[in-house]
């Protein structure tokens, strides 16, 4: 049975070696992102300060996951696992925060 599955499919995800040029580009993007987030924190944008900081942090995290952690070049199983994991994570955090932020908890 396993012989049948040992088709070309198995070799679809032939180990991909990411070129160092991509790593250098990602490093530069991460450094620029760090500079940007520090700079943005000194400007008073009211409620948008945390939103911008988190948006930049999420962008940096996505770059690290996709390129440094090779998810962009990984098997569909890995992509699905990582995607499902982060989705569950966001559901857990999002639902909890939605509850806390929309009730008068702790305001006594």
């Amino acid at each position: 049975m396993s012989e049948v599955q040992d088709g070309p499919e198995q070799h679809e995800h032939e180990h991909h070696i990411v070129s160092p040029i991509i790593y250098v580009i990602i490093l530069c993007a991460l450094l620029v992102g760090t500079g940007l987030t520090v700079w943005a924190s000194f400007i008073d944008l009211g409620p948008f300060n945390p939103i911008i900081a988190l948006a930049i942090a999420c962008t940096k995290a996505v770059l690290v996951v996709l390129f440094f952690m090779h998810v962009k070049y990984s098997s569909k199983l890995t992509k699905l696992t990582v995607g499902a994991g982060f989705f569950t994570f966001l559901v857990l955090i999002g639902m909890t925060l939605a509850d806390y932020f929309t009730r008068a908890w702790g305001r006594w």
Binding site: M1, S2, D6, Q10, H11, H13, E14, H15, I17, V18, P20, Y23, V24, I26, L27, L30, L31, T34, T37, V38, S41, F42, I43, D44, L45, N49, P50, A53, L54, I56, A57, K60, A61, V64, V65, F67, F68, M69, H70, S74, S75, L77, T78, T81, V82, G85, F86, T88, F89, L92, I93, T96, L97, Y100, F101, W105, G106, R107
Partner: protein, 250 residues
């Protein structure tokens, strides 16, 4: 699917040519790599959930005691935080380069990258020590070395006040809530630092093994999966830095 075919298949497998690092319960080396990669990601996802709890607690308390959290976050030095971000991002880069060197079987390159990652990791912990030391001096460590009066009246300790003259006095209820900020600060950065210490210990082990030529024979799984761990620790810091240091600054 009869037993006899399974046995025949198993015997055929035993004589099958494969690299020495391929475990016998895997059909191909690609399958082994996929399985270990998958397992590493499952582990990292549990880690993400674990840190997620701390991040959620931080966001809830920040929402409740907003002025106290703003005042407390002004106690952190953006310079040290930014420096640590640079160190950690660069160490992630050197680690990624290390994996690349292992894949191309460049032994000296791999050792160099691992040593650089090791040094940058130690640098990160060194900066963290400087920051924690300041918190100790100012009595800002909840449960161990904490004093509300250091916030209500910073001048009460003249020695510390001379060193940090910019600290403004806070109202008592606000000063008490800064304790929550610092509790979460130490829980989050402390847990992150524990992960760094574990990572640095594994790096030391890997440097010794790499010098003996362990990861440059085509079997890069260990270096690759450690790289995933190291990048994960980097990602945690990418979120800790803005949340703890930056978002209440302006």
């Amino acid at each position: 699917m009869s037993d006899s075919t399974a046995i025949a298949h198993g015997t055929a497998e035993a004589h099958h040519e494969h690299p020495p690092y391929q475990r016998h319960h895997f059909e191909t080396i690609a399958q082994q790599n996929d399985a270990t990669n998958f397992a590493m990601w499952l582990f990292l996802l549990t880690e993400i959930m674990f840190f997620g709890g701390l991040f959620t607690a931080y966001l809830i308390y920040r929402n409740w005691y907003y002025p106290a959290f703003v005042a407390a976050s002004h106690q952190l030095d953006i310079f040290w935080g930014s420096l640590n971000t640079l160190l950690l991002i660069t160490s992630s880069f050197t680690m990624a380069m290390g994996v690349w060197c292992a894949e191309l079987r460049k032994k000296s390159g791999l050792v160099l990258c691992l040593v650089l990652t090791f040094i940058l990791g130690l640098g990160f912990l060194g900066v963290k020590t400087v920051e924690y030391r300041e918190k100790w001096e100012k009595h800002h460590i909840p449960g161990l070395h904490y004093s509300v009066s250091s916030f209500v009246d910073p001048a009460s300790d003249p020695e510390v006040h001379d060193k940090y003259p910019k600290d403004q006095p806070l109202a008592l209820d606000m000063a008490r809530h800064t304790e929550l900020y610092f509790f979460l600060y130490f829980a989050m950065t402390g847990m992150h630092a524990v992960h760094m210490i574990i990572g640095i210990a594994i790096l030391a082990f890997m440097i010794a093994k790499a010098q003996a030529g362990a990861y440059t024979t085509g079997h890069v799984t260990f270096v690759e999966n450690f790289g995933l761990y190291w990048h994960f620790v980097d990602i945690v810091w990418i979120f800790l830095f803005p949340l703890l240091y930056l978002i209440s600054r302006h």
